[in-house]
């Protein structure tokens, strides 16, 4: 295979424990441009790859604050400025009555931020990705676990990296084209 067409090497594992161990040793060996694939969330796997924190909670907080302040400001503006209605002499800025809508809008914006933020940070939708070229990758959504090291990684070397992956408890190692 031509070097330029090679996307990376992919190793297949039987169980999550082997995958986490392999990911950890790959990180220790200095590999950074790699990712692990599993049919369900595996505890400690992202951390083993050196991925610790996500900005998602911050996005959700911002979404919630925008919803909260936006809704309250809108209601306050409607009731005091553009369409004031005198109900039994009660104050126009009757803020306790604005709370239910403010709360609902806060939840709505935060939830939308959580979903869109998760998709955006994950780069989804991704119509094409080289990992799907791996012959057995369809099993990643059934019962197999995969670790892929990209050819872009600075210390990637076809023979050496293949040797490294074969040294982990994997079933097989395959080359993945881009």
């Amino acid at each position: 295979m031509e070097r330029s067409r090679l996307w990376g090497l992919m190793a297949e594992y039987d169980n999550p424990g082997d995958l986490v161990a392999a990911a950890r040793s790959a990180y220790q060996a200095g590999y950074r441009r790699m990712d692990a694939y599993s049919p369900m969330p595996v505890h400690g796997l992202a951390e083993a790859l050196g991925f610790h924190r996500t900005r998602l909670p911050l996005l959700v907080l911002i979404g919630g604050l925008v919803g909260c302040l936006g809704a309250f400001t809108m209601l306050w503006y409607i009731e005091t400025a553009v369409y004031p209605v005198n109900v039994g002499g009660k104050p126009y800025n009757s803020w306790p009555a604005f709370i239910p809508i403010t709360f609902e809008t806060t939840v709505l914006f935060a939830a939308i931020a959580a979903v869109l933020g998760m998709l955006a940070l994950n780069g989804l939708p991704t119509p094409y990705h080289p990992v799907f070229n791996a012959p057995r990758f369809a099993l990643a959504s059934r019962h197999r676990f995969f670790l892929a090291i990209e050819a872009q990684d600075p210390i990637f070397d076809l023979a050496q990296t293949r040797g490294f992956l074969e040294g982990t408890h994997c079933r097989e190692v395959s080359e993945v084209e881009r």
Binding site: G17, M40, E104, A138, R142
Partner: protein
């Protein structure tokens, strides 16, 4: 979901497990996805969907005739202006609440048994909210102007009144529908990827592939995914409580005897969960038998759901008791008359039927022999569903039909169009549910993988 969990937390020695022994990642995946990916549609599915579809067409006809003629085709008039539309709205939206409770609150409480029932309970929520939303819109008389409920700058120079619970309801119900749909869809993404990878059909590959958005199970993706899922659960939890609270405000902010009560929010929320679990059981019991899902929806699930039904049913019973007590204790002659009229007036049979369904019958759930008898439990769940419908009937109709002035008293009789619209929404609900069962995995496959006893044994969950 982030913390370390004990090795195999779901199976203890005395209890029935939440998943039968001997399952692996592959067997769980294959069994659940096979229901969707089979090329042979079961004959029973075709018959069931056909009946439900016909009933949904009856809804279409009833709604079409309503648009042509106006709400006069219904039994509503002075003094009962709310009638079936609001009864059914509250009933449907209450049913939806169990789905969110199972998917969000039980997730936060780490109740692992929720895993095999949350997907179809969420679908149930979504379809129930869709049916619920139809009623207030049809009740408006000019449904094509429903968008007037949304605050936006317009040439009429008017705005909705945000101090009114009816406007709160617009926000509560639309937020609830949106968040439920998002939660459901996010939960589906990894399973859609499984279906994409497993189907042999080119068209199905394309459709599932587009819906899965290129999900590949990357560890970084899972990390953000779990964060998002947990945050959504945290957001949905107060939301679900707020929705039925706001629905109860529609009543309790009014000064009508029988409605103007501070007990309404908790009483409505408990009633919603009660009716919702009854609906989940009504659907789960035949489904697990028909699709042979006893391995995944075990007696443990059935038992736990029956217990939640009993607990919320007792709260609802307490609500009935307190309504009566407060009417007496208030010393308000209108409140006292209202409760006596409920018990002894023209709608007394409905009231006592409601007490029978919601308070008396469920006492049998104290006995584990009853909770283990799925057929009997199914009948009880249906009785509770009817009881909760009667509850909303009693609340709406008995309070309205005796106005403060005897000159404006009246009776409410539903017409054939009231019934056809109501039964039509049941048809719509079931038709959507049948389509869901055929096209999407009814049990969350990836979450089932997390509760399978894993080979290799290293820390996962």
């Amino acid at each position: 979901m982030e913390q370390e969990r004990p090795q195999n937390p779901v199976v203890t020695e005395e209890e029935v497990p939440v998943i039968a022994h001997g399952h692996t990642y592959a067997s769980v995946t294959d069994e659940i996805s096979a229901i969707v990916l089979t090329t042979r549609t079961p004959r029973e599915w075709v018959i069931g969907f056909g009946i439900a579809f016909l009933l949904a067409m009856m809804l279409l006809y009833s709604a079409g005739y309503l648009l042509l003629k106006g709400t006069g085709i219904w039994g509503i008039n002075h003094p009962v202006g709310w009638g079936f539309a609001i009864i059914n709205f509250v009933w449907w939206i209450g049913i939806g609440h169990a789905g969110t409770l199972i998917s969000a609150i039980l997730l936060l409480l780490r109740q692992e048994w929720r895993t095999s029932i949350n997907r179809f309970a969420e679908a149930m929520t979504l379809f129930a909210v869709a049916c619920a939303g139809l009623f207030p819109i049809l009740h408006m008389g000019r449904p094509w102007l429903a968008y007037w409920l949304v605050p936006y700058p317009n040439t009429m120079g008017t705005w909705p009144q945000p101090r009114s619970p009816l406007v709160w309801d617009v926000f509560a119900v639309s937020t609830y529908a949106t968040v439920s749909a998002l939660f459901w869809f996010v939960g589906l993404i990894p399973d859609l990827a499984t279906l994409r990878d497993r189907t042999k059909n080119r068209f199905a590959q394309i459709v599932y592939g587009m819906l899965a958005m290129g999900w590949r199970g990357s560890a970084r993706h899972w990390h953000r995914y779990e964060t998002a899922y947990l945050l959504l659960a945290g957001l949905a939890t107060p939301l679900v409580v707020s929705v039925h609270t706001v629905v109860s405000f529609d009543f309790s902010i009014g000064i009508i005897p029988g409605w103007h009560a501070t007990i309404f929010p908790p009483y409505f929320v408990a009633g919603a969960i009660y009716a919702g679990f009854a609906m989940v059981l009504t659907l789960a019991i035949p489904l697990r038998a028909f699709y042979g899902l006893e391995d995944f929806i075990t007696m443990r699930h059935i038992d736990n759901m029956a217990k939640i039904m009993l607990a919320t049913g007792l709260i609802v019973g307490y609500g009935y008791m307190m309504e009566t007590f407060m009417a007496w204790y208030s010393g308000n002659p209108y409140e006292q008359y209202m409760i006596l009229n409920r018990m002894l007036g023209p709608y007394k049979y409905y009231y006592w039927a409601l007490i029978l369904c919601n308070v008396v019958v469920i006492q049998s759930l104290w006995f584990s022999r009853v909770r283990k008898n799925v057929r009997l439990l199914w009948v009880i769940a249906i009785v509770v569903g009817i009881g909760m419908w009667l509850e909303r009937f009693i609340i709406v109709v008995t309070s309205l039909h005796r106005d403060f002035l005897p000159s404006s008293w009246g009776m409410y009789y539903p017409t054939v169009y009231d019934w056809s619209t109501y039964i039509g929404t049941i048809g719509l609900f079931l038709a959507l549910l049948f389509l869901f069962l055929r096209l999407l995995p009814m049990i969350s496959i990836f979450e089932m993988r997390t509760i399978v006893p894993h080979p290799g044994g290293k820390a996962t969950h």
